[in-house]
C-alpha cells in the first residue's frame, strides 16, 4: 500500500486528513511544518505527500528545493487557500508537484485527487 504523509501546521486538519486516509487503508505519517517534513521524509519514504503551502518556517519553494536533495521522491499535492498565478505555477510545477487542491476542500474531492495519484 502506498504511504502518505500529511504536512500541515493546523493540527485539526492534519489529524482529520490522517484519519480520513487511514480509514481508506493508507499507511500514514504526519509532519507539522516544512522542517519536520524534511527530517522525516527519508525514513518514512512516502509515495504521496500533501503539503500545505502556507506554513510557518520554510516557504513552500524552499521545502520543494530541499526535497530534491532527499533520497525519497514522493509525489507532492499542494493544499492552498490562494490561487496560483503564472509565475507561482511555474515554481510549483517543477519537481514532484503533481496537483493542487484548493482549501476549503470537499472531502470527496480530496479523496478523488489522492486516489488519482496513487495509481
Amino acid at each position: 500500500m502506498v504511504k502518505i504523509m500529511i504536512v500541515d501546521d493546523e493540527p485539526d486538519i492534519r489529524e482529520m486528513l490522517n484519519i480520513l486516509l487511514h480509514k481508506e487503508g493508507f499507511e500514514m505519517e504526519m509532519a507539522e511544518d516544512g522542517l519536520d517534513f524534511l527530517e522525516k521524509v527519508d525514513s518514512f519514504n512516502p509515495g504521496i505527500v500533501t503539503l500545505d503551502v502556507m506554513m510557518p518556517g520554510l516557504t513552500t519553494e524552499e521545502v520543494l528545493n530541499k526535497l530534491k536533495k532527499k533520497k525519497s521522491k514522493p509525489k507532492v499535492i499542494l493544499l492552498t487557500v490562494v490561487r496560483f498565478d503564472g509565475d507561482e505555477k511555474k515554481i510549483f510545477e517543477q519537481g514532484n508537484v503533481v496537483d493542487y487542491i484548493k482549501k476549503p476542500f470537499d472531502i470527496d474531492a480530496f479523496l478523488t485527487c489522492v486516489e488519482k495519484h496513487v495509481s
Binding site: E10, D12, I13, M16, L17, I19, L20, K23, M54, V81, V82, R83, F84, D85, G86, K103, P104, F105, D106, I107, D108, F110
Partner: protein, 713 residues
C-alpha cells in the same frame, strides 16, 4: 549857292545826321538820360523818364532834379556829397550809384545811376546822368538773399532738432521756428494721439498781451486743450504734406467744440483773417499739426519753405516718438526684469555676467556691482572654471535649453538652474539667459507626495496581507468543520442514526452557507480594495460553458430544471480569468435555479456581437420588479429578502459579478418581466484587456457613484 554854301550845307547835313542819330539813340535807349546843370536843373531828359519814373518830359524839364521829390531824403546828402567830391577832385566820372527813386505812382524803383561831369573851358557846367532801372536785378538779388536765408533757417532748424534734449519741448521749438519764418502770425502746434483720435494743443507762439483776453473768453488754459478728430477729411488733408486753409475760422479749427461766439470774439481780439494748417506726417502716420493764424494785414507767402520745414519737423517728431517708445519699452523690460523673483542673468560665451536683475543679489548674496563683469562660476561656485554640471557649458554644445536641479546643504534649499542659449546667425552661442530659481517648496511637496505614495503602498500591502491572513484564518476552521461533517455523514467514523444524520446535514448546509458568505465577503473586499488577483488565460468559451453546466447540473436536477446551452460555433478564445468568469456564470445560473419553478428551463447562450462575446442566462422564473432591476447589482442588495434567504446568499453575488466584469472591461445588465422570467446578459471584449488589476482599482464596488450608466445596456 556857292561852294561855301555847299560846304556849309554839307556840314549842316552831317551835323543833322549826327543830330538825328544822337536823337535816335537818346530817345531809344532803355535808360533815362538826364542832363542837369550844375545847380541841378534838368536841361534835357529822354522819354524813358515816363516809362521808368512815370513823369512826362515836359513835366520835369527846367525843374530841379533834387526837388522833384523822387529821391529819398536820407539818400540826398549822400548824393550831394558824391557830386561835390567828384567836382572838387576834378573827376569826370562819378562811381556807379544804386538808389531807389520814387515812381510817380508812389512805388519805389531801384535805379543804377551813372554820372559824367560835363565841363566847358575847364569849368563844370553840369552832369550827364544815365539812370537804369535795375528792379529786376534787385529782385534776383533779393531772391538769392532769401534763398540763402531759407537755407540758413533750414540747416539751423535741423541742427536744433538733432540737438534737442528729451526734456526740451519740441512742439514749442517748432512753433517758435515757424513764427521766426513768418512773423506777423500766431502759431499753434498740436500733437496727435492715435488711440484716442485727438489733437492736443502743445505750444503757442506769437500771442502777446492779448493772451489774457483770449484766456478770459475761453475760461481755461490753451495748452492741453484737446479735440477729437471728428472730421476724417480734415485728417486725411493733414497727411498730405501741404499747407491747407482751414474753413470756418477757430470754430472750424476746434472741430466745432468751441462755441461760435467765443471763436469770433477771439478772432476779433487777435485780428485773425485766415487760418492755415498742415500736419506732421510720415508714411501716412499723423503726429500732429501746426496751425498758422494770419493777422489782418498779412498774407501767407513762402509756403514752400514752411512746408519744407514742416516735413523736417515731422521727421523730428517721428524720431522723438520712436525714441519715447523705445525708452518706454526699455523701462518696461527693466521693470519686468527686476520684478522677477528668480535670479535672471545674461551671460556671454566666456561665462561673464553682463546683466543681472535685483533678485540675483539675494541669490548670490552680493551687490550688483560685484556681480556684473564677474564670471558665474567664480560668483556662484567659487571655482576657477565652470563645473562639469554647468548647464551653460552643456548648452554651448547642445545649443538647447539646459537645466539642472541642485541641493545647497548649507542653506537647506533646492535650486533649479536653467540656461537658454542665444545663438548668432551661424548658430554659435554668443550669450545665454541664466535663471536660478528657488524650488525648495516644490521639492518638499514632491518629497511629501513620494512619502505619501510609499505610505499608500504600505497601506495597500497591509490591506492585501490582512485579506490573505483573514482568508486563511477564516477558511482553515471551515475545512476542519466541513471535513469532519462529511466524514461523519458518510459514516467513515462509525454508524449514525437518521436523526443524527439530519442534524449533521443541517450543520453542513449552514457551514456551506457560512463558507460561501466568507468567500463572497472576501471577494467584495478584494474587489473594493483593488487587491483581487486575476490570472489571465486563453479560454475556450464552449469549454467554459460546459464546465459551468456540469457544475450546476446537480443543483438543477434537484428542481428538475433543464439547462440548455446555445454556444455559437467558432467563437474566438478570450483572454480572461476563467475561474472568475466561471464564478460569474455560476452565480447567474444559481440565481436562475433559485427563482425558477420546478421543471422549467434555463438557457445559457454565448455569441459574437461586434467586438464582444455576449453571454445570456435566461430563466422563466418569477422575474424582478421593474423598480428593483436597477438596484440588484448593488452590494448587499437582495430582492425580496427574508422569504428567499433559505436559498442562501447575502446579495453579494451580482455585485461581485459586476465587479469582475468591469475589471474585464465588460458590462452586465438584466431584462426582466415579473412572472415571466429574467435574462441576465453580460459582455466580454474579444480584444485582450491589458492590465485587469489596474483597471480594477477604479471599480466602485459599493456603487457610490450611482448605478445605471451602461450596465443596463
Amino acid at each position: 549857292m556857292g561852294k561855301g554854301n555847299t560846304k556849309h550845307r554839307h556840314a549842316e547835313g552831317a551835323l543833322f545826321e549826327s543830330e538825328t542819330r544822337f536823337r535816335s539813340i537818346f530817345e531809344n535807349v532803355k535808360d533815362v538820360i538826364l542832363f542837369v546843370d550844375k545847380y541841378g536843373k534838368i536841361l534835357n531828359v529822354n522819354k524813358k523818364v515816363d516809362d521808368i519814373l512815370g513823369y512826362k518830359q515836359e513835366e520835369v524839364l527846367g525843374k530841379n532834379f533834387a526837388k522833384l521829390g523822387i529821391i529819398k531824403l536820407k539818400d540826398l546828402p549822400k548824393i550831394v556829397k558824391l557830386f561835390r567830391d567828384a567836382i572838387r577832385a576834378d573827376e569826370k566820372v562819378i562811381p556807379l550809384l544804386e538808389l531807389a527813386l520814387k515812381h510817380k505812382n508812389g512805388t519805389w524803383v531801384n535805379i543804377e545811376a551813372g554820372t559824367t561831369v560835363l565841363k566847358k573851358d575847364g569849368e563844370t557846367i553840369g552832369t550827364l546822368n544815365i539812370l537804369r532801372d535795375i528792379t529786376e536785378r534787385t529782385e534776383e538779388k533779393e531772391r538769392k538773399k532769401q534763398l540763402i536765408h531759407n537755407l540758413k533757417f533750414l540747416s539751423e532748424s535741423s541742427m536744433k532738432f538733432v540737438e534737442i534734449t528729451p526734456e526740451e519741448n519740441i512742439h514749442q521749438l517748432i512753433a517758435d521756428q515757424i513764427y521766426r519764418l513768418l512773423g506777423n502770425c500766431y502759431v499753434l502746434v498740436n500733437s496727435y494721439d492715435i488711440s484716442s483720435n485727438t489733437m492736443e494743443l502743445k505750444a503757442i507762439t506769437g500771442i502777446g498781451k492779448q493772451l489774457n483776453t483770449v484766456l478770459k473768453i475761453l475760461g481755461r488754459d490753451l495748452i492741453g486743450m484737446s479735440f477729437i478728430m471728428t472730421d476724417d477729411f480734415a485728417k486725411s488733408e493733414l497727411t498730405k504734406g501741404k499747407i491747407v486753409k482751414v474753413p470756418g475760422g477757430i470754430h472750424g479749427l476746434s472741430f466745432g467744440k468751441l462755441p461760435k461766439k467765443a471763436c469770433s470774439a477771439i478772432e476779433k481780439v487777435l485780428g485773425i483773417r485766415e487760418i492755415y494748417s498742415m500736419g506732421f506726417a510720415r508714411g501716412g502716420k499723423l503726429y500732429g499739426n501746426a496751425v498758422i493764424l494770419l493777422r489782418n494785414d498779412f498774407e501767407l507767402k513762402d509756403t514752400e519753405i514752411v512746408e519744407t520745414f514742416m516735413r523736417q519737423a515731422s521727421v523730428a517728431l517721428q524720431r522723438k516718438q520712436v525714441e519715447e517708445e523705445l525708452k518706454n519699452a526699455l523701462s518696461e523690460w527693466d521693470v519686468t526684469f527686476n520684478a522677477t523673483k528668480d535670479s535672471t542673468m545674461l551671460i556671454d560665451d566666456k561665462f561673464k555676467i553682463f546683466k543681472a536683475n535685483f533678485a540675483t543679489e539675494r541669490f548670490l548674496g552680493k551687490h550688483l556691482n560685484e556681480i556684473l563683469g564677474g564670471t558665474c562660476y567664480e560668483l556662484v561656485h567659487g571655482t576657477d572654471a565652470p563645473p562639469d554640471t554647468c548647464p551653460l557649458k552643456t548648452a554651448k554644445h547642445t545649443k538647447k535649453h539646459e537645466g539642472i536641479e541642485l541641493y545647497v546643504p548649507e542653506k537647506n534649499v533646492w535650486l533649479s538652474a536653467t540656461v537658454d542659449p542665444i545663438l548668432d546667425d551661424k548658430g554659435n552661442l554668443t550669450r545665454a539667459v541664466h535663471i536660478i530659481k528657488d524650488i525648495t517648496e516644490r521639492k518638499q511637496a514632491e518629497g511629501k507626495i513620494k512619502e505619501q505614495n510609499i505610505q499608500l503602498k504600505k497601506l495597500d500591502k497591509i490591506k492585501s496581507d490582512f485579506l490573505n491572513v483573514t482568508s486563511h484564518e477564516l477558511r482553515t476552521p471551515m475545512s476542519a468543520i466541513k471535513g469532519y461533517l462529511q466524514m461523519l455523514l458518510n459514516q467513515s467514523l462509525g454508524e449514525i442514526s437518521e436523526e443524527q444524520k439530519k442534524g449533521l446535514e443541517v450543520i453542513l448546509r449552514n457551514a456551506n452557507r457560512l463558507d460561501n458568505l466568507v468567500q463572497d465577503i472576501l471577494d467584495v473586499s478584494r474587489l473594493e480594495s483593488g487587491t483581487m488577483k486575476f490570472i489571465i488565460e486563453k479560454t475556450d468559451i464552449q469549454k467554459l460553458v460546459d464546465e459551468v453546466t456540469e457544475t450546476m447540473q446537480s443543483s438543477a436536477d434537484l428542481k428538475d430544471i433543464k439547462i440548455n446551452m446555445e454556444v455559437e460555433e467558432k467563437l474566438p478564445g478570450l483572454n480572461i480569468d476563467q475561474d472568475r468568469i466561471k464564478q460569474v456564470i455560476i452565480n447567474l445560473v444559481n440565481n436562475s435555479i433559485k427563482f425558477s419553478p420546478g421543471g422549467s428551463i434555463i438557457n445559457i447562450r454565448a455569441k459574437k456581437e461586434e467586438g464582444n462575446i455576449l453571454f445570456e442566462v435566461q430563466d422563466f422564473g418569477r422575474g424582478i420588479p421593474k423598480d428593483k432591476q436597477d438596484r440588484i447589482f448593488e452590494t448587499f442588495y437582495q430582492v425580496d429578502s427574508g422569504k428567499d434567504t433559505k436559498f442562501g446568499g447575502a446579495g453579494l453575488g451580482l455585485a461581485i459579478s459586476r465587479g469582475i466584469l468591469l475589471a474585464h472591461s465588460g458590462k452586465i445588465w438584466v431584462k426582466s418581466k415579473e412572472g415571466k422570467g429574467s435574462t441576465f446578459s453580460f459582455t466580454l471584449p474579444i480584444k485582450p484587456v491589458k492590465d485587469l488589476e489596474e483597471r480594477f482599482k477604479d471599480v466602485d464596488m459599493f456603487l457610490l457613484e450611482g448605478m445605471g450608466e451602461g450596465e443596463n445596456g
